[in-house]
């Protein structure tokens, strides 16, 4: 959302501030998805993602809070805090490039981890859900992209 999106009257511009990942699927569907993906529990201070790591997974944080950090010489710089219900790591899921920052747990918690391999299996078992998931991830990416470019364009 930019502050100066001169896009017309309110009716014509539904502000999408929030995207719900797989918003319309049932808890049964979730159960089936969870069989195909990985659930990861962590302690405070643990690294979920390490900078430079190459792994093609994204995470859904279900419990707890994690920080995006950069480790300095003798301290860590927290760039951002990610809260429950957030999705992170989706860029590497798509491009497989090394992680650009470390994600460190601030509290104990749980995250669902979806690798490319998991996704392939999901697509094979539940093509409809997989398509929706991909689409939602695309929306998240584009929203985040707009958001970052929106920042610099004012």
């Amino acid at each position: 959302m930019g502050l100066f999106d001169y896009a017309g009257p309110p009716a014509a511009t539904p502000h999408i501030d929030e995207i719900t990942l797989l918003g319309d699927i049932s808890s049964d569907d979730w159960n089936r998805i969870l069989k195909l993906v990985e659930t990861r529990q962590f302690r405070a201070g643990e690294d979920l993602i390490r900078v430079g790591d190459k792994d093609d997974s994204f995470y859904i944080l279900t419990i707890g809070e994690v920080n995006v950090v950069i480790d300095g010489a003798d301290d860590e710089i927290v760039l951002a805090t990610i809260g429950e219900g957030s999705v992170f790591g989706e860029i590497a899921f798509f491009d497989g490039a090394p992680r650009s920052a470390t994600i460190r747990a601030q509290t104990p918690g749980t995250a669902v981890r979806v690798t490319r391999e998991n996704f392939d299996a999901l697509a094979a078992w539940e093509p409809v859900i997989a398509r929706q998931l991909l689409f939602d991830l695309g929306r998240i990416l584009s929203m985040r992209l707009r958001w970052t470019t929106g920042l610099s364009a004012g």
């Binding site: 959302m1 100066f4 979730w30 159960n31 969870l34 760039l79 749980t110 995250a111 094979a124 998240i140």
Partner: protein
């Protein structure tokens, strides 16, 4: 709709209209009328007119700008004229060129300074000049409206009053909705009418420093300009040059102060700008308050006391403090919004996900090498937990039998499920009882556990060895044992023999140039990054420690039974008291033509896997064909797929895994594979490989149907053939494998055969679990101990991520078995179970991961299912977990 927190920066579209339209229309017309009235007064009675205009109306405007700038923007007579063409629909609605958009502000700033400076010269005293000024301003506003769209022809761009409104009203105490733009046409940058609270902030933080600089210049120079203006002497006396020098001096002074503050104090532009603007406001009223009060009281016919002037200035001070406070909070919101933390939120229905098992649990497994910890969901194995945590651990059978995933338990052994007989046997074989567990079959049952994936469990303190061990080698006089083959069978028997006799000399002759590795895991060598390291099953110093001589890269080429010697390919000769043949099997090649074309591969050894990986890279392969739709073929196809090859499986039968699965189970499997992009062709066989003319390697395979599939890599997984040649040459009885009795003895009493190479009456196996079970039997038999081989359960499972496929025993009811099965409505899952005499005698389980977990355990335990038959009849599969 859920409650939405108020937006920190509502645009005018989000603002309520507090007053009706007609009110504003009336107010605008009234203001316009007042202006005309004053103009008339200036014309007819300049003294009163000037007093009213310069001493009351104009001096009160800055206060209005600071408190509620939106009011002025609603009622400004120039805005009224500017917007007439728009509301009549006669505006040309041109878009301001970008360059003009960006410079307009600067123009208006200069116009402001210049026009105000002319007050002392003309406008304060010359009615004609002032009236001209008013007239020209109104006309320009109107012309701007005729030409340009929105409010970009005047209000937000050229209007000399605009900069001062933005400066004093950068954080309005009262916001008023812009009433002129029914729809926003995006006519200007950082429009003050669109988002009054954010406009000045956005201006100052604009990435175009030149653009932002104009705003800074204006606010920085403003207090100086005010000082200069009010302290200037009459230019008529000093001369214009001195006058302008005086003004410029003041502007430069405060500009300098602004810059100095920016340079030396760690403070944002916005804060300095806000302070600067507000000091200009106070300066302004410091000088004008007396005039305002006097004029008003004079008009009212009284005289105001002098202190009222101080009260007035005090009031202005309060207003400016309030604006500064508003500004600080706006800045906070602005920074928070632009902070990466305040990213747009992506929501997941967390509750649904948690309910599905992704919830919290207190009992974590800590892994020392990585520092990670994770919880293992009830019902999941430690291995699955390790994998979920994103850690890697090699595995083979995933049934506790091969020993590939022995992991060091550093602490909390008591918090793991007790080992099954199979696992215990594996642990004993590896000498790891009490120190390690097979991750694939053990579960966390509550309480903390610490493991270490990088630690060789052999390095953990050894539990005290039983002291009363008899050395069977010494008691039986068997001093030399030779083993051919260092696979699962050969190495297991070597280990067991060493356990039974510390003194006996053991030689293992191994053709491959690799220490004992996990043959079941070689598919991962195709696509994995870690090479062979992960698949070795024994510590590198195992032979040394156990005093076993392993001859790597050495073939047994002949057996001299008479002299009890094995002749090696190197010319060396090794004598034996007992010989154990464990040379396994090799991939069988079908009789089809063209098997000698480069690009035809098999997948039996680590070297084969490495050759495929190398070939794929060297030849930039795109298409792979796998012959064989059994477990090996499918696993190979999956590995090739992960190597980014377009892969096709060719299966002779009408379904995949035809030996283990029924039609529906196969069908589900096939759908899954195709979903992954693996092409499956059934009821087909290969007539010949194809080498296109001019090519030095395979380019395709031709099916008996005549169809040709493109292939630059062809992997044959069409069964195995026991390596019986040595035995045949030595005159041992050989059928498909080397024939053995129930003690694994061949037709020569000094020679045993185990593993893939052996044939117990009726069957050659091809399974790891069989190899190790036979190794135990043979080890005892070597020293003359009577043991009887009973085949382990031969549950077949597909080792592939994302699907669970298990097949077992016979799928027939003729011999009196009772069948349990899902109805046809279950589309993506196949569960069939055959029970004879309360034991499971056959099963097909195909479905998403976890589908066959319980049944596999029940089968391995050889469980009595009598107690759950009723529940099974009702389709309650969960009952299997309880046997």
């Amino acid at each position: 709709m859920p409650d939405i927190a108020p937006k920190p920066f509502p645009s005018y579209l989000d603002m309520p209209s507090r007053l009706p339209k007609w009110f504003w229309h009336g107010f605008r017309l009234a203001t316009f009328a007042v202006l005309l009235g004053v103009a008339w007064l200036i014309a007819v009675s300049p003294e009163t007119g000037f007093a009213l205009f310069w001493k009351v109306m104009i001096p009160l405007m800055p206060l209005l700008f600071a408190v509620a700038p939106g009011v002025w923007r609603q009622i400004c007579p120039m805005a009224l004229l500017n917007q007439i063409p728009r509301s009549l629909g006669i505006s040309q609605n041109r878009t301001l060129p970008v360059g003009v958009k960006n410079t307009a502000y600067f123009v208006s700033v200069l116009a402001f300074f210049f026009l105000v400076s002319l007050r002392h010269v003309y406008f304060n005293k010359d009615p004609a000049a002032l009236l001209t000024l008013i007239g020209v301003a109104l006309s320009l506003a109107f012309i701007g409206g005729l030409l340009f769209k929105g409010r970009s022809g005047w209000c937000g761009t050229f209007c000399p009053l605009a900069p001062i409104q933005k400066a004093y009203g950068h954080a309005p105490i009262v916001t008023v909705k812009n009433g002129y733009c029914p729809t926003c046409v995006g006519c200007q940058k950082n429009c003050y009418d669109f988002n009054p609270r954010a406009a000045f902030l956005s201006d100052l933080t604009d990435s175009d420093l030149w653009y932002a600089g104009h705003k800074k210049f204006f606010v920085a120079g403003l207090p100086g300009f005010a000082m200069g203006f009010f302290t200037a002497l009459d230019p008529a006396e000093t001369g214009l040059a001195a006058y302008y020098l005086h003004l410029a001096g003041w502007i430069v002074t405060t500009l300098g102060i602004y810059m100095a503050v920016r340079i030396f104090v760690r403070v944002s532009d916005y804060r300095v700008a806000a302070l600067s603007a507000m000091s200009a406001l106070v300066i302004f009223y410091w000088f004008t308050s007396a005039g305002i009060i006097d004029t008003i009281s004079h008009m009212a016919g009284t005289t105001a006391p002098t202190w009222s002037r101080h009260i007035f200035v005090g009031l202005v001070l309060l207003v400016s403090l309030r604006v500064i406070r508003n500004g600080l909070s706006a800045e906070r919101d602005f920074l928070a919004m632009n902070d990466k933390t305040a990213q747009p939120k992506v929501a997941v229905k967390v509750d649904a996900v948690r309910a599905g098992g992704a919830g919290a649990s207190d009992d974590l497994v800590a892994e020392n090498a990585s520092g990670r910890s994770f919880a293992v969901d009830p019902g999941r194995s430690l291995l699955e937990g390790i994998e979920s945590a994103g850690l890697t651990q090699d595995f083979g059978c995933r049934m506790g039998m091969c020993g590939a995933d022995a992991i060091a338990i550093v602490d909390g052994m008591e918090n793991l499920s007790p080992p099954s007989d199979e696992e215990l046997a594996t642990l004993r074989r590896l000498g790891l009882e009490g120190r390690a567990r097979m991750a694939c079959v053990c579960k966390a049952v509550g309480g903390a556990v610490t493991i270490d994936l990088k630690r060789d469990p052999n390095d953990l303190p050894e539990p005290p060895e039983p002291t009363n061990l008899v050395d069977l080698g010494q008691t039986t006089g068997i001093e030399k044992v030779v083993i051919i083959g260092n696979g699962a069978a050969g190495m297991s028997v070597a280990d067991e023999i060493r356990r039974l006799s510390a003194s006996c000399k053991i030689d293992v002759i191994a053709k491959e140039n690799q220490p004992f590795y996990n043959r079941m895991g070689i598919g991962r060598l195709l696509y994995g990054r870690s090479g062979l390291d992960d698949i070795y099953l024994m510590a590198s110093d195992w032979g040394e420690k156990k005093n076993v001589a392993v001859w790597l890269n050495t073939q047994a080429s002949r057996i001299d039974r008479e002299n009890q010697k094995v002749v090696l390919g190197t010319g060396d000769v090794v004598a034996y008291d007992r010989l154990i043949m464990a040379q396994g099997s090799r991939a069988a090649l079908p009789p089809a033509a063209g098997m000698d074309v480069p690009g035809v591969h098999v997948l039996r050894s680590a070297a084969d896997a490495q050759a495929i990986r190398a070939w794929r890279q060297e030849k930039h392969c795109k298409h792979a064909v796998v012959l064989g739709g059994g477990v090996l073929g499918i696993e190979a196809a999956d590995a090739l797929r992960r190597l980014n090859l377009k892969t096709t499986i060719i299966q002779r039968s009408d379904r995949l895994m035809n030996r283990e699965l029924d039609a529906k189970g196969s069908f589900i499997l096939r759908n899954f594979l195709q979903g992954l992009g693996i092409n499956v062709v059934t009821s087909a066989s290969v007539a010949t490989t194809v080498r296109a003319e001019g090519s030095d390697r395979i380019t395709g395979v031709e099916l008996t149907s005549g169809e040709t599939l493109p292939a630059d890599l062809y992997v044959v997984c069409a069964g195995v053939k026991a390596n019986t040649e040595l035995a045949v040459d030595a005159g041992l009885k050989v059928n498909r494998g080397i024939l053995v009795d129930s003690a694994m003895r061949t037709s020569d009493e000094h020679i045993f055969a185990i593993g893939d190479v052996a044939e117990v009456p009726g069957m050659v196996s091809g399974l790891w679990s069989v190899a190790t079970a036979q190794a135990s039997v043979a080890a005892a038999a070597v020293f003359g101990q009577a043991t009887e081989y009973t085949p382990p359960s031969t549950l077949v499972s597909l080792k592939m991520e994302g699907i669970d496929v298990k097949g077992y025993g016979s799928l027939e009811t003729e011999n009196g078995a009772e069948e349990f099965a899902d109805g046809d409505e279950a589309e993506a899952i196949r569960r069939r179970l055959f029970v004879t005499n309360n034991r499971i005698t056959g099963a097909v389980f195909v479905g998403p991961p976890g589908t066959g977990k319980d049944v596999a355990q029940a089968i391995q335990k050889k469980a009595d299912v009598s107690l759950i038959l009723d529940r099974l009849r009702k389709g309650d599969w969960a009952a299997l977990a309880e046997v």
